[in-house]
Symmetry: none
Subunit: 257 residues, 2 copies
DNA sequence: CAAGTCTGTTTCATATAATGGAACAATTGG
DNA sequence: CCAATTGTTCCATTATATGAAACAGACTTG
């Protein structure tokens, strides 16, 4: 469809550079993306001028610091993230374990913000990281409360651990349970040893985020899953209260199709 | 000059969206950038596919969450951050208070990394947070050692506390003092109760970061500002030694702005 | 120390691919 | 309800990105 290929290639370069652990040269990138060297070089030169990529002393290219500015700017203007920030820290401090906020961005579930726990062994999600829908607590909430915004597709459910739900029937049962009781859990379904309890953050009945506590299974059990869920729900309530001032009035009638 | 105009325009859009406080429509953006509507629309559609921009419920455009992922990824591989990490922790452990690293990213001063102190009352900056230039110790260092990389503008100096420098004359005096003695301080000028001592991290004579200790005013006084500065300078020296890298030479004339 | 093989960079003819005016459709607002 | 926006699509035109090949540094290898 109508996508500007030049821009597309530039974006490919940004992601390629960001994905690779080390600075990469023009030749390597051109091979990886299947583009002519000259082309890659000009794209990089353009991005270089704008600070989206940089060069190291060996003239190899790496992601630019302008990306940091753009990314962090973006983080700060997210209304849900802003409203949740204080609650994340309060809950993490009180429970001593990592609490994070996830949300749907572009059909994918991404980590929006986090407040890490204090333990030596603690979950340390990466902000911006995308997490699987079918093997996480927040994913089940997304499937339960915003099924039309996510693209699970009829695809096969990849098995990460022994407890991953690999059949759609099993997953559906989990999702229904989450919808019923208002919170979801993940018992080492994605990463061995890691358990999560998550609650939804709603605005006008729509899911705008999910608040989750992630910790070693033993730690969560000693806190208590229900107690964790209750504590998170209180935080979610306060976040929701802070979100009720949104959108400059919409007059659109909800009536009819 | 050999810059791909299509990519350039796409980058313009990203910065324009990031700069404006609210989501913007195609028409507004086309006016601001002086590009035809159709063109802006296609550029946005391309960026939308890749998650670099998003649309709100009114179809207006805003920066996309993929920028967060790219930006955060970039933060982690920052050479200055990598070189400083160990020193941050060593200094924080030795002095018992929070030590953090700040740097200029896209004309703004942002927190790159931190090692928190052990006290019950301790500074806990957020990584990625941007801090004001005129009311912080690290900001004064930026103004003193990299005046052309920061955009203070002739703007008014917002007053945060009773001791904030609100006149350019007063600020200039502070900046000159910092340049002379090689370290800067902040005496509750930004946040009541919080004092900071900061030293520059230089590479090839250019400021690449600032190392700062942040603590309650009483704590800093009992450690001693000069002693703190001396300790931080030792750390900065070691960081600088780890950064000995010639800057890449550019053959073509460089266009500013 | 020199030849060879990698890099990154520049050139230039060519045709593709982005352009932008204008028509269209879907909103919003009065 | 109509008018004035907005976002989106269409399409001819040519400006623009393309990519093969030549060039120039840097680094390794014999």
């Amino acid at each position: 469809m109508g996508a500007l290929s030049t821009v597309d290639h530039a974006v490919d370069l940004l992601f390629a550079l960001s994905a690779s652990a080390e600075p990469e040269g023009v030749t390597a990138l051109s091979r990886r993306l299947g583009l002519p060297k000259a082309n890659v070089h000009r794209l990089l030169a353009t991005l270089l001028q704008r600070g989206l990529v940089e060069q190291d002393e060996r003239r190899r290219y790496l992601p630019g610091s302008a990306l940091v500015a753009l990314g962090l700017q973006r983080l700060d203007r997210d209304p849900v993230t802003a409203a949740a920030r204080g609650e994340l820290e309060a809950a993490a401090a009180e429970l001593g374990e990592t609490v994070f906020l996830a949300g749907l961005r572009g059909g994918q579930l991404v980590v929006l913000d986090k407040a890490e726990g204090s333990g030596f062994l603690r979950a340390a999600p990466r902000i911006g990281e995308t997490v699987p829908l079918h093997a996480t607590a927040v994913g089940k909430l997304a499937l339960a409360f915003a099924p039309d915004e996510v693209a699970l597709g009829g695809a096969e459910l990849r098995s990460f651990t022994a407890t991953t739900a690999t059949s759609h029937a099993a997953l559906d049962a989990e999702v229904r349970r989450a919808a019923l009781r208002g919170w979801a859990e993940n018992r080492e379904e994605w990463i061995a040893g890691l358990s999560v309890v998550a609650v939804p953050v709603l605005r006008a009945g729509r899911l705008v985020g999910a608040l989750a506590l992630a910790a070693a299974t033993g730690r969560i059990e000693s806190i208590g899953r229900l107690r964790t869920a209750t504590r998170l729900q209180a935080a979610a309530k306060r976040i929701e209260a802070r979100l009720v001032t949104p959108l400059p009035r919409t007059r659109s009638a909800e009536a009819g199709a």
